[in-house]
Amino acid sequence: MTAALLAGVVSSAILSAVSLVYAGLGELVSERAGIVNLGVEGLMLIGASVGFAATAATGSPYLGIAAAALASTLANGLFAYVVIGRKANQLASGLTLMFFGIGVSALAGKPFIGDIIQGLPRIPVLGLPFDVLTYLTVPLAVLLWWLLFRTRWGLALRATGESPAVAFAAGKRPEMLQYQAVLIGGCLAGIGGGHLSIALTRTWAEEMTAGRGFIAIALVIFAKWNPLLVIPAALLFGAAEALQLQLQAAGINLSPFILSMVPYLLTLCILAFWGWRRQTAAPAGLGRTFLGVE
């Protein structure tokens, strides 16, 4: 493999991993508070379509990203109300959110199909050709790690994820913490979706996330609920995708569909390989509904 090809693979691996990092970190915060959100796919789609629409309308990619974050935070607020406020089943609510996102994004993005936008500008730093969201992934992961593992807020949030009743007994407000975690998750998933349409592809197409939301959920398990491990895990997935594009460009005859399966199968293999041990890393109260204490 030539140096140029390698550089191309690495750089496009990083770029396609960015949306996964944001969405994965968002899901991680939510799961640390005990809430599984299967609707990340829908949130990313809302972020991608609203972000693209806002960029096309205002001409500013930064406003586009902000709109993406806001829109999917709002959408996740709906999910948060249903699962935390009304104690609904998290899996069914998450899938409902996914359908909601597919529909809303199709409606919001329709008038903008085929528009040409000014993408998120690349800012060269130390010879690296990335956009600002890409540079921010590492500081964000470190920040979230610090917040979760080195602050009182993070301790309370993780305690909520392990056992809301114990957190409540310790004088915390589990539901408030869960709302905060889920809204952070929505915001980050929206930014991830926005990066996809505004920086990576610079187009909007229906269901363009193509399962990335579900990969983000797998990433969290893969990273053993540790924000710092989300980045290497996302890079692995980005690399599979990038390699596929580069091999095609290099004229190597391998069906793109076969390569596209790699990330999903890889996740499954690694989960199977880790087996039961990973379970010890999962928040004990994950997916359980906290019905309050007597």
Binding site: R86, F100, G103, G287
Partner: protein, 347 residues
């Protein structure tokens, strides 16, 4: 994910009629506002849908056609739910069923119907079953949670279909649009009364009836309920939990595979991309809403089919993308989710 997920995921539906009507009206109003905001006419859209679905035989028959995959994929969720397993992989299992059935139709184009259709049915069942067997084994061996593995496999199955119809199975007649060779007439499920209502409806009815019968009347159903109630206690009683986990997942996948078989054989007549507009996921929600009753599944499939028909109408008459109908479905579900369990939550 919790092991007592069954109890949380499938509370028996007990919605009163009045409440259901209120839910429908609120959902229609909210969705109407959304349509109005997008510059469409919601009243005309709703009237068009009613006229289409109940105004003529064709529209109503389309409704029944759409019910078939929903009933089958919902059964594929309700069955493993009885032993506390959550199968979110109906979509992938549907695609694999379609793929295997297509393999049969393409391999034996000369065979008569009475050979080919049973063969394709078996292959469809086998395809979906194999696709769910892996998550079943991984779960039974306590390696990977079945929720995650079935979800991930949903995305692999359509890619295999794409690979085949862009590659080895691509029809030489249609250069522009990738699809498999058209099936011979013998490989098409027969339709009834000059409509598109097809024998797949029988698959749905038979599967639901068998599901209901075995759960209520057989020793298997009893043992499955025991596993669902407390897997550890069931194990101590000598019930083979491992075998049940693997077999139930495989059978459930097979049922979803039948949905794929009936879609390619009766509706499409060939293997195409975008075979399912999310039937597998919608089936999960149907099963969740319906609880575990067969009548509930049939009724909820009917309701979801009406919503899907509204999507067709919106697309044709108002130029709205078909996917928008997912919003109406989601609003209904969010309202129902918001009502559920709130009674049980102490405040």
């Amino acid at each position: 994910m919790p092991h007592n997920a069954l109890a949380i995921a499938f509370p028996i539906a007990g919605t009163k009629a009045g409440r259901a009507v209120a839910t429908a009206l609120i959902a229609l109003a909210v969705f109407g506002l959304l349509l109005a905001a997008a510059g469409k006419d919601p009243f005309r859209a709703y009237l068009d849908t009613l006229a289409y679905v109940f105004g003529n035989a064709y529209g109503f028959s389309e409704l029944l056609v759409r019910m078939v995959p929903l009933m089958l994929t919902a059964t594929a969720v309700a069955l493993p739910a009885r032993i506390g397993l959550i199968n979110v992989g109906g979509e992938g299992q549907l695609y694999m069923g379609a793929l295997f059935a297509t393999g049969g139709a393409i391999a034996f184009p000369e065979q008569p119907s009475f050979v080919l259709l049973p063969l394709m049915t078996l292959l469809g069942f086998a395809g979906g079953g194999l696709w769910a067997l892996l998550p079943g084994l991984l779960r039974a061996a306590r390696l990977v949670n079945e929720t995650i593995s079935t979800l991930l496999l949903n995305y692999v199955a359509p890619l295999i279909v794409s690979y085949l119809i862009f590659g080895p199975w691509r029809s030489s007649e249609s250069a522009a649009y990738p699809e498999s060779t058209a099936f011979s007439d013998a490989a098409r499920l027969p339709a009834f009364f000059h409509t598109r209502i097809h024998a797949g409806l029988l698959f749905g009815i038979v599967c639901l009836a068998l599901f209901s019968f075995f759960m209520a009347k057989s020793r298997w159903g009893l043992e499955m309920r025991a596993i669902g109630g407390n897997p550890e206690a069931a194990r101590r009683l000598g019930i083979p939990v491992f075998r049940y986990t693997v077999a139930v997942m495989a059978i459930a996948g097979g049922v979803a595979g039948l949905a794929g078989m009936s879609e390619v054989s009766a509706i499409q007549g060939r293997l195409v991309m975008g075979l399912s507009p999310g039937y597998g996921f919608a089936g999960f929600l149907v099963a969740w809403l319906a609880g575990t009753s067969a009548w509930g599944i049939a009724f909820m499939s009917f309701l979801f089919a009406i919503i899907a028909s509204a999507g067709d109408i919106l697309q044709f008459t108002q130029g709205v993308p078909y996917a928008v109908i997912n919003v109406l479905m989601a609003i209904v579900l969010f309202i129902v989710l918001g009502q559920r369990q709130s009674r049980r939550a102490p405040r």
